[in-house]
């Protein structure tokens, strides 16, 4: 078999299949990694999914993995890490020692962290090979990657459209088969929305499930690390390794409660709530029918769907656009031109701060920092931030009540399929509305999953979102696995 023929096949494999092939010795990690690096070389200049490609270190890590596999063949008692030799992509807001971490911002153009995020370190300890860092809206603020200082990422299904955001680079990389699987982060929908736009399975983990150490903070009470994968099986492989207590993140829980989940291919006994507040004006007819068809499929597998209400859903957007900017304004205060990042030299210290930040931050980041500063400022705190935290309690209570009656909630992930690049160019509020179905989960801290439930008449993927109570991550994955066992949407790939 020629080398070229081997490498066209390798990128078609899911993470699970690739790991099986590595273990069986069907191909090496160097061959697998090289196959992806070749595809990146071929397509990334057009798609702009990766901001940084770690060719050299990836091949070194792959060679080390191959050595360990060879050793295990000689000495069968050798213990192999679970993800040994599997290539992955990492969103550029997560720190990997020795690789740039720009966060899609000019202010961190030259920043190279000397430490690694816990989530990434656990994957490295399990043997993964990091292919590179993927594009994101600046500091994860956006829904399209159009807010990246390094250019927009193109949706592999239609390159005139956005891949979603902010984890749009990771989504495009996995959809275009420039990576088997990728890490993303979700503060208001930034894993689920790009997963929906790119036809992937995207998991937003329960707040507290995965360490945020090494994730550049945006909204600390909302930020979560998640996975963009081709299917739920692959997403589960990654969650298993990267989750769990971390002494470096006091919000991670030591023992996540184990919740019931469907076992096997039947969903008999599973109760699904369908919230009426998610089927509203603005939801396109094609997305609605795709999502309803997906729910019917879950019913065909034995689940029972019932109407439910999450009455404060309409307030999620205003709550989010107070709390997230408030937290961002505090978190991003660290970018002052002193310890790292861009500095505009000035004789006066305050002037240096102002000029460095004015030159380093893009428009959306400036907007959110200013909204947050205003909402926290003397005289306005109670009316904005205080009221938002109270309404956040109401949103959380909505979910608590509904999850007493049903096991999961099923709804659309996004109001429409992927929109055109530039479609929301001049109106920030219009862009904010893109996240209307994903924000509530972050405000409540509950897990969410988006999977591909079909395609619209233009051939664009439709995302079905499932939400569960705290620590129901595995339940969502189990439901998705049962669904994907009887459908094949997740196996379709874009023609590049």
């Amino acid at each position: 078999m020629s080398a070229a023929k081997t490498s066209t096949a390798l990128h078609e494999l899911s993470a699970k299949q690739a790991l099986a092939g590595l273990r069986a010795g069907a191909f090496s990690s160097v061959e697998l990694t090289r196959a992806y690096l070749e595809r990146i070389e071929q397509h990334n200049s057009r798609l702009n999914a990766y901001l940084y490609v770690a060719s050299e270190t990836a091949l070194q890590a792959a060679a080390a993995a191959d050595k360990l596999y060879a050793k295990a063949r000689r000495k069968p008692e050798t213990r192999l890490p679970s993800l040994l030799g599997l290539p992955i992509a990492v969103k550029d807001v997560l720190a990997v020692a020795g690789m740039p971490a720009t966060c899609g911002s000019l202010i961190l153009e030259d920043f190279v962290p000397s430490y690694t995020a816990t989530s990434v370190q656990r994957l490295l300890d399990a043997g993964v090979v990091i292919l590179g860092k993927t594009n994101t809206d600046e500091f994860a603020m956006g829904s399209s990657t159009e807010n990246s200082a390094y250019g927009v990422t193109h949706n592999p299904w239609d390159e005139s459209r956005v891949p979603g955001g902010s984890s749009g680079g990771s989504a495009a990389a996995v959809a275009a088969r420039l990576a088997p699987v990728a890490l993303g982060t979700d503060t208001g929908g930034s894993v689920r929305q790009p997963a929906a736009f790119c036809g992937l399975t995207g998991l937003k983990t329960t707040y507290g499930r995965v360490s945020r150490y090494g994730l550049v903070a945006y909204g600390s009470s909302l930020d979560t690390v998640g996975v963009l994968a081709r299917d739920a099986v692959d997403a589960e492989l990654i969650l298993k390794v990267m989750g769990g207590y971390d002494p470096r993140d006091a919000t991670t829980v030591e023992k996540a409660p184990k919740l019931d989940k469907p076992s096997g291919r039947s969903l008999a006994g599973l109760k699904i709530g369908v919230p009426k507040e998610y089927f509203i004006e603005g939801l396109t007819a094609e997305v609605e029918s795709g999502v309803r068809e997906g729910i019917r499929q879950l019913e065909a597998l034995g689940a029972k769907a019932v109407p439910v209400s999450l009455p404060h859903t309409e307030y999620a957007l205003p709550v989010y656009y107070i709390i997230a900017p408030a937290e961002a304004s505090a978190n991003l205060a660290r970018f002052d031109g002193v310890r790292y990042g861009l500095r505009e030299e000035q004789a006066d210290l305050i002037e240096m701060f102002k000029r460095s930040r004015g030159a380093g931050f893009g428009p959306e980041v400036k907007r959110r920092i200013m909204v947050g500063s205003y909402a926290l400022s003397s005289g306005y705190y109670d009316a904005y931030y205080g009221q938002a935290q109270k309404v956040r309690t109401l949103i959380r209570q909505d979910f608590d009540k509904v999850f007493k009656k049903v096991d999961i909630v099923a709804a659309p992930a996004t109001p429409s399929t992927a929109f055109r690049i530039g479609a929301h160019g001049n109106d920030p509020l219009e862009m904010y509305l893109e996240d209307v179905f994903t924000l509530p989960a972050n405000l409540a801290g509950v897990p969410g999953l988006s999977l591909c439930a079909g395609f619209d008449s233009q051939g664009l993927p439709i995302g079905l979102q499932m939400l569960g109570p705290h620590f129901a991550d595995e339940r969502l994955l189990a439901v998705a696995k049962a669904y994907q066992h009887v459908t094949d949407w997740q196996t379709r790939q874009p023609a590049l």
Binding site: Y207, L222, A250, I322, G341, M352, I369, T393
Partner: protein, 98 residues
Amino acid sequence: MLLSKDDVEHIALLARLHLSEEEKERYREQLSNILDHVGKLQELDTADVPAMASIVVPRSRLRPDVPAEAMPRPELLANAPETAEEQFKVPPVLDGDA
């Protein structure tokens, strides 16, 4: 319009952001629209609702307070725009001779 140009300049100072005249005008309009939209929350009566204090379930606890290895100084200084004598260098903070 909720905000005046003075308001925008005040917010920009709080946020330590230098803005051009063109930016001030643009943000005056955009921030006003955003604040107008989030003002929708005022329609809810929340007198009896507690503000959310923590999203973590179950509540987290602090780790034991034990000294750990610090990151190497040269590595941490490597990203600094300007250093001197193994320290971050900044413009004078106090008035008077440097």
